[in-house]
């Protein structure tokens, strides 16, 4: 298959990875980790998610889907490139 296809996908993948990581870091850490495993427990449920948080969720999911699609696409391309006698 055309090599340009792979380059496009890889560039897209790197860009989406960066955006995805940034978006995830923008989220407010909702306990999640060890701090609430220590038995804090009830702390997080007090604050409901705000509108900003909801929009952030939406964008994250959107970027995540593109990211996922890129990986799957690259996987298929690799299979074709290797098995197809390179």
């Amino acid at each position: 298959m055309h090599i340009g296809f792979a380059y496009t996908l890889i560039v897209l993948l790197i860009i989406t990875s960066a955006i995805l990581t940034m978006l995830i870091l923008l989220h407010r850490g909702k306990g999640g980790g060890m701090s609430s495993m220590f038995g804090g427990g009830v702390t997080s449920s007090l604050a409901g998610s705000s509108v900003a948080e909801k929009n952030l969720d939406r964008y994250t999911v959107l970027v995540g889907i593109v990211w996922f699609a890129c990986i799957v696409g690259l996987g298929f391309w690799l299979k074709l490139a290797v098995d197809g006698g390179s």
Binding site: T16, S35, M37, G64, L78, A81
Partner: protein, 443 residues
């Protein structure tokens, strides 16, 4: 039991939470099987087959267990939650050392949120480090102990320059770690149970069927049934001790506020035998895994004296030094976490504020001392129990002298984590259920 399950599904908000959790778990498992870009799926499968038929198991057995088999197949979520756990350990230990962090921890909600935010940054930093280390290992073939050199994991004949593939790999795995972290937080936030522990739970549970089948294949039905019986016995014991608690009676004085009467009730403070839960086990095993990781960066084919000593005494799970260190680490972490989670002075202070007292003991400092005494006494059997259950599989190695049991998933660590997380989650579902009706899972 079944009716409680049905009513859990009949409650709309609880049903939504359960389904949400299941959906997130499905996404997690999907990502854990999806190979990263540039990694040849078929070659990796061949390599794993070689490893499993070979006598020497990989060094990463425990880590592979934690990531549900995702690590060896270099999938998108290969690192799983390990970086997050390591980052949490580092930050928790640092709070003792760095005064600023200590101050933040005492600040309550906002300070705690800030520490969580630091943990997340550190997680990504660690993820970059670990993913580049693993990619380098996979490239040099050491991930599979050089047994799999005829099938390159990262094929070169793709037409792409190698460095681009490697950069893409590292970036994807780092982003994957971030996604896993986010999934865990989503479960904590909108699902049931603690996200991180639920994800560890799924990874371990995902490997159970295949590992169990491997035992049946290699040893026959009798062994399979014996192992199952043993596991059931251990689970019963674990549940029994996890539920055990000491109840310290507390009497509240009657108070008049306006025209209403408050207090006058007698309750108790439940002190669990194993107050720390499964955290000590997770922490001890991830700390003990660090020397293994460091060893990987050295030349495998020509080990120096220090290196081979570490390999034979600390890394090898059948050696006595390894077992003793693991045991001591677990006991240390149990006390460490109990001291972090339960502050006797604070509890005594709060009780005094609301007019409560333990019968026979003065409020204030004497109560704090009393609670402290009881707590440290009750934690001793708790920590010993955690240690003994966790080192059980190591005795299997010694008795059976068989490498097959290397990553024995029914062993102590895995069973402890599974039962602990399961109980915790069920309890949380139950408390949600209690808001609607009184029948629960646990009696």
């Amino acid at each position: 039991m079944l009716s409680a399950f049905l009513s859990a599904f009949r409650t709309p908000d609880l049903r939504k939470k359960l389904l949400f959790t299941v959906a997130i778990i499905a996404v997690y498992r999907l990502g854990a099987t999806l190979p990263s870009p540039g990694v040849s799926f078929s070659n990796v499968q061949k390599c794993i087959d070689i490893m499993e038929s070979g006598a020497t198991s990989g060094v990463f057995s425990l880590l592979n267990l934690f990531s549900g088999g995702a690590l060896l197949s270099l999938s998108v979520f290969a690192l799983g939650i390990m970086p997050y756990i390591t980052a949490s350990i580092i930050l928790q230990l640092l709070t003792v050392v760095i005064p600023r962090l200590e101050q933040l921890r005492k600040e309550g909600q906002s300070g705690q949120a800030k520490i969580t935010q630091y943990t997340r940054y550190l997680t990504l930093g660690l993820a970059v480090l670990q993913s580049s280390a693993f990619v380098a290992l996979a490239r040099s073939g050491q991930l599979f102990s050089n047994q799999c050199d005829q099938f390159p994991i990262v094929p070169e004949n793709t037409g792409l320059p190698m460095w681009i593939t490697l950069v893409a790999l590292v970036i994807t795995m780092t982003a994957g770690t971030g996604v896993v972290m986010w999934l865990g937080e989503l479960i904590t936030d909108r699902g049931v149970g603690n996200g991180m522990s639920v994800l560890i739970f799924t990874s371990i549970a995902a490997r159970l069927p295949s590992e169990g089948w491997a035992i049946k294949e290699s040893r026959g039905w009798a062994w399979f049934i014996a192992v199952l019986a043993l596991v059931l016995l251990v689970i019963t014991l674990v549940v029994f001790i996890e539920q055990a608690q000491r109840r310290i009676p507390v009497q509240y004085a009657k108070r008049m506020i306006g025209r209403k009467m408050y207090g006058g009730t007698s309750t108790y403070i439940p002190l669990k035998v194993n107050q720390a839960g499964v955290i000590p086990v997770i922490f001890a095993s991830s700390l003990l895994y660090l020397p293994q990781l460091i060893l990987q960066f050295f030349d495998q084919n020509d080990p120096g004296p220090v290196q081979s000593w570490v390999q034979n005494n600390i890394v090898d799970p059948a050696s006595w030094i390894h077992i003793v260190i693991y045991f001591l680490l677990i006991i240390f972490f149990t006390y460490f976490y109990v001291s972090i989670t339960f502050n006797p002075t604070e509890v005594a202070e709060n009780m005094k504020k609301y007019g409560g007292f333990v019968p026979g003991i003065r409020p204030g400092k004497p109560t704090a001392d009393y609670l402290d005494f009881i707590l440290s006494r009750i934690t001793l059997p708790g920590s010993l129990y955690l240690g003994v259950i966790s080192i059980l599989p190591n005795f299997f190695f010694i008795w059976l002298d068989n490498n097959q049991f290397q990553n024995f998933p029914f062993g102590g660590t895995a069973v402890l984590i599974m039962v602990g997380v399961g109980l915790e989650t069920v309890k949380q579902i139950e408390s949600q259920l209690m808001q609607r009706n009184y029948e629960g899972f646990l009696r």
